[in-house]
């Protein structure tokens, strides 16, 4: 039940409010996840602090070789950014596949991460971009690797009164990237599985490769066994199947067997093969 609503004019005011109203304070940006939870009565008494219009959360710049992306950017803003198209291609592709246009116009990447759904589309993308997260509260700020923030399904490890303000990404200019998603329909679908991939080929070999799987494990995570299997290779199709299989095994070992495993094991393998086909030697 919403007991109050405030719209602070600055980030500092927002942080002050969050500190003052804790534990009832609930930051709201796009609200595309939060409103669903509210409607289902899962949030108890709360006071909404609207951070959707804070300019401080809309940073978008390349500084000393890193890409700084404001947590308050909407998926649509990410999709449209020339800088991110060049330097963070996987994040752009993932953002363009979130929900529907209406959702992308209001939902933010910060909210997507803070909600920490196993199926969040931008988390695998941010993982392959090796994102670090900048967090602020009235007590100060800290920076952590994204992995360290993902505490479990719907459980981002944010301290009370803390906000995600930006993500710091490695520059992925000139790298190949892809984001693939399996849903029950083509739009407005929660991922059954998603895969983010970022790679660089050097002299026909895979010089760098980052893979992250969404919706297959309690929180999205990098799939290092598959990365290792392909690094340094001039991959043939069989190598992709090998890597896909390794990834599926890694997924199952993390999640444990579930009713969905039967499907997801095969689909994860297939998704990797499908996604990485462009990396094959002959480009087929």
């Amino acid at each position: 039940m919403v007991r109050g609503y405030s719209r602070p004019r600055s980030l500092d005011e927002a942080l002050e409010m969050l500190a003052r109203l804790t534990p009832r304070a609930l930051p709201i940006a796009g609200g595309t996840d939060l409103l669903v939870d509210l409607r289902e009565g899962r949030l108890g008494e709360c006071h909404l602090v609207d951070i959707s219009r804070l300019e401080e959360l809309k940073v978008l710049e390349k500084r000393s070789g890193k890409i700084r992306v404001g947590a308050g950017l909407t998926f649509s803003e990410v999709e449209r950014s020339g800088l991110l198209r060049e330097c963070a291609p996987v994040l752009v592709k993932a953002s363009s596949q979130v929900g529907s246009l209406q959702i992308r116009n209001v939902g933010t990447i910060g909210g997507n991460v803070a909600h920490c759904s196993p199926a969040a589309d931008t988390i695998p993308a941010l993982l392959v971009h090796r994102a670090r997260v900048v967090l602020r509260s009235s007590n100060g700020s800290r920076e952590v690797a994204l992995e360290a923030l993902l505490g479990g399904p719907y459980k981002a490890l944010l301290a009370p009164g803390e906000l995600i303000t930006e993500f710091v990404l490695e520059d992925a200019s000139h790298m190949w990237g892809e984001f693939s998603k399996i849903g029950r329909r083509r739009e407005l679908a929660i991922a059954r599985l998603s895969l983010a991939a970022l790679a660089r080929k050097e002299d026909g070999r895979i010089g760098e490769l980052y893979l992250a799987l969404g919706a297959g494990t309690p929180v999205p995570r990098r799939m290092e066994s598959a990365e290792r299997a392909l690094l340094g290779k001039r991959p043939q199709e069989g190598d992709l199947w090998e890597a896909g299989w390794l990834m599926a095994q890694e997924m199952v070992s993390v999640s444990g067997p579930r009713p969905s495993t039967h499907y997801k094991e095969k689909a994860a393998c297939g998704l990797l093969v499908r996604t990485l086909l462009p990396l094959l030697e002959d480009g087929s």
């Binding site: 739009e187 043939q236 393998c269 297939g270």
Partner: protein, 759 residues
């Protein structure tokens, strides 16, 4: 013809587009009381006590009603009266209404509902028809768990089986579905100056609502008036009482305005669903593809109460052969009570489910016999004078062969070129057909319609049509028919729709019946009016009756068009002479009831036919299916409004894509659109609608119906296309990612190219 076959804009479309239409939730009255329902959390339980004392102490709560407050007969149901409006002795499904709270505001209503105390004693709950039919099963209703058994038998099945070259036997299953209307059920009401209880609601069935509410309240039918609000989709779910009974009950006791709007979650939880079915089917054929026999056993999960269960089980049985001539038939169809949500009518009344089975059978037979799927359908297609499973000899309007012919060029192109075209690696393309037939109107029972037309004193034609238009466009086509008959443009007419206080009973807007049945009634009424006008004009003008026609709002001489008399003049004259210019037209299709032991009879006066083709691309790695194109050829008799027909076809295809690939209502777990997926625009294939017109002699201007037929062939065509792509078949709907992936693996996909393969 001037108005028939013309795509005039949908009547009422502008009002809706401008946001001016009043839907069930739009109450133009000040401060109505808010109604809310307390629903059972138990699937099957005895009610030991209901205590409303604490809830009544809430300031805003005005009244709380339970079964004991229902003054008349607390029993409702479209065919079988077996459902209480408010549960009295026991509850039979999760979501069953137990108490009705009326409060001054939403919050008080919610609190009131929360604070009603009900003590239940759980009974064993039954969630599958198999358990329900077990002799030891606890009876959900006093009469037992079998609601209805329908048998259709003809010829000698044993003999045919012994002569057959090939017998194919399979079992199919389909899930519960939610209609997913854009508008949730809603309505409001007030007490008129003369004491009439007026209920304005989202409905497909105003006259039924009126009768049922009057019976509940134990009052004369005339004391209740039901007016259809603008309705945002029905698809069968708004045939049952949803809000009307509760509004009536509150009005009866409180005599002040009330409103009731169901939340989306309540709609999912408690309004009727499409029957889940299990269909066992055995089809026998000769070597040349001619069908010899069909056997089927159909088990319909009808849920906690009957709703339209009897009609669904019956229609499924009658249509189980598909649109094919089969001499030997033995079908048994059971509607079985369970403690699942009520299953009722949903676009097609059981035919979409059986069509999935018979069309799969056709393709399996075709493949085994080495006959082209289109050819095997052509060999067996019903044509004029074919004899159906119920022994009915069809008339001349049987456009199935024309529909197959219309699809054929697309089919050949798809099979020979598109299927072999370049595509992404690890995908497969498939092409599939689905054909169907559908009886127009209710099955072997009277289902009349009456329409009234009047030329009022100002010379204006007013149509009184009881048929609810919930978006399908019945008003538009009926007005076009009136325009054609009376020579007046639609804008020049007034139309009163679906108001039991003003319009005669047209029956339900269901079973694709309004164009055919109310259309005939309307044309009859309009002809009576036109006859009288021509006679009056003949007298006035001194010209022979045969020389006169109605045109442009005048009676005109055919020979000398300058000689004319306006309808206004005729109206004035008629009034002077005391001649009534109000006429009713009546139509009830000629049918005979089905024999209870053999199912033989004439269940429908006419049938619509169709064939659709689906082109799909299947991702062999992940099970994703993309429907690329649907070609949909529908024999509608005559398209009164071609764009309206095309709209129905596109909408039907959309629903069919959902039925085929993603829709599944799981009792106890599906709660809302969060977990129930319907297709979005992005899932829609290219649709090529083809209208086939095999004129129906008994139809108004040759028309039949298209509302339900539009949906029926889509899922079978898509499933046949998936089977064509994979070389493996899926027998349970929907064809989810999991099922398609599974089938893909069963088929040995992905077949690897160079460089190794999957483990």
């Amino acid at each position: 013809m001037e108005w028939i076959g013309r795509s005039i804009p949908r009547i009422g479309a502008q009002t809706r587009a401008r946001g001016k239409a009043l839907f069930g939730g739009d109450v133009p009255l000040e401060g109505p009381l808010i109604l809310k329902l307390l629903r059972s959390p138990r699937p099957h339980a005895r009610i030991l006590s209901i205590n409303t004392e604490r809830a009544m102490k809430n300031d805003g709560v005005e009244a709380i009603f339970t079964a004991k407050d229902i003054p008349g007969r607390n029993l409702i149901g479209l065919i079988t009266k077996d459902q209480p409006l408010l549960a009295h002795d026991k509850v039979r499904f999760v979501g069953e209404p137990v108490a009705l709270v009326a409060a001054r505001d939403e919050e008080s209503a919610i609190r009131g509902v929360e604070e009603v105390e009900v003590v239940y004693e759980d009974l064993p709950a039954i969630f599958t028809p198999d358990e329900a039919l077990d002799p030891g099963a606890v009876p959900i209703h006093e009469k037992g768990n079998l609601l209805h058994r329908r048998v259709v038998v003809k010829g000698d099945v044993e003999d045919a089986l012994s002569r057959a070259h090939l017998v194919v036997e399979r079992t199919y299953s389909t899930p519960f579905l939610e209609h997913a209307c854009l508008e949730p059920d809603a309505g409001w009401g007030y007490v008129d100056k003369d004491g009439t209880l007026v209920i304005v609601a989202s409905t497909q069935n105003p006259h039924y609502d009126q009768r049922e509410v009057a019976e509940l309240l134990g009052v004369e039918k005339e004391r209740v008036r039901v007016i259809q609000a603008a309705t945002g989709g029905g698809f069968g779910s708004k045939l049952d009482l949803t809000v009307q009974g509760f509004i009536g009950l509150a009005l009866y006791h409180l005599r002040r305005p009330v409103k009731l709007t169901l939340s989306r979650e309540e709609v999912f939880l408690a309004t009727p669903k499409r029957h889940a079915m299990k269909i066992w089917m055995r089809t026998a054929a000769r070597r040349d593809g001619r069908l010899l026999a069909l056997e089927a056993k159909i088990i319909c999960d009808t849920g906690a109460y009957s709703s339209y269960g009897v009609a669904v089980a019956t229609r499924a049985a009658v249509h189980a052969t598909g649109p094919y001539e089969i001499e030997n038939v033995r079908v048994e169809s059971l509607a079985v009570y369970t403690n699942n949500p009520i299953a009722g009518a949903m676009r097609g009344f059981g035919v979409p489910q059986v069509a999935f089975a018979h069309e799969s059978q056709m393709d399996i037979l075709a493949e085994s016999l080495g006959i082209d799927p289109l050819e095997i359908r052509r060999i067996n297609a019903m044509r004029p004078e074919s004899v159906t499973a119920t022994g009915q000899v069809l008339g001349e309007s049987v456009g199935l062969l024309e529909a197959l012919d219309a699809v054929e060029p697309h089919y050949r192109e798809a099979m020979e070129e598109w299927k072999k075209g370049p595509r992404r690696p690890y995908t497969a393309r498939g092409v599939g057909l689905g054909a169907m037939w559908y009886g127009i109107g209710n099955t072997g029972v009277r289902n009349p319609s009456t329409v009234k037309v009047q030329l009022d004193e100002r010379g204006r034609v007013v149509l009184y049509i009881g048929a609810a238009d919930m978006g399908q466009g019945s008003t538009t086509v009926l007005v076009q028919m009136a325009s054609e008959t009376l020579g007046i443009s639609p804008e020049e007419m007034e139309v009163v729709i679906a108001d039991t206080g003003l319009t005669p009973d047209a029956g339900a807007s269901s079973a694709s019946r309004q164009t055919y049945i109310s259309g005939n009634a309307l044309v009859r009424a309009c002809r009576k009016l036109s006859e009288t006008l021509l006679e009056e004009a003949s007298r006035l003008m001194g010209l022979p009756r045969g020389e006169l026609v109605l045109r442009g709002g005048n009676v005109v001489s055919k020979e000398k068009p300058e000689r004319r008399v306006s309808l206004a003049e005729l109206a004035a004259l008629a009034k002077e002479r005391g001649v009534s210019l109000e006429f009713e037209g009546h139509f009830d299709p000629e049918t005979t009831p089905l024999d209870p032991s053999t199912g033989q009879g004439i269940p429908y006066a006419t049938y619509s036919f169709a064939c659709q083709m689906a082109q799909v691309e299947v991702d062999l790695l992940t099970g994703q299916v993309e429907v690329r194109r649907i070609v949909a050829a529908h024999d509608v008799g005559k398209a009164i409004n071609p764009k309206g027909v095309v709209g129905q076809i596109r909408g039907g295809v959309a629903m069919g894509v959902g039925f085929a690939l993603m829709e599944e209502f799981l009792p106890g777990s599906t709660r809302s659109f969060k977990d129930y997926h319907i297709p979005t625009a992005a899932d829609m294939p290219e649709v090529i609608p083809i209208i086939v017109e095999s004129s129906e002699p008994t139809g108004p201007f040759g028309a039949k119906g298209v509302g339900e037929p539009a949906l029926i062939p889509t899922a079978p065509a898509i499933l046949n296309a998936i089977a064509d792509a994979l070389g493996e078949r899926i027998y349970a709907l929907p064809a989810t990612l999991e099922r398609v992936c599974e089938a893909s693996i069963r088929a040995g996909w992905p077949k690897m190219g160079k460089g190794g393969g999957p483990r």
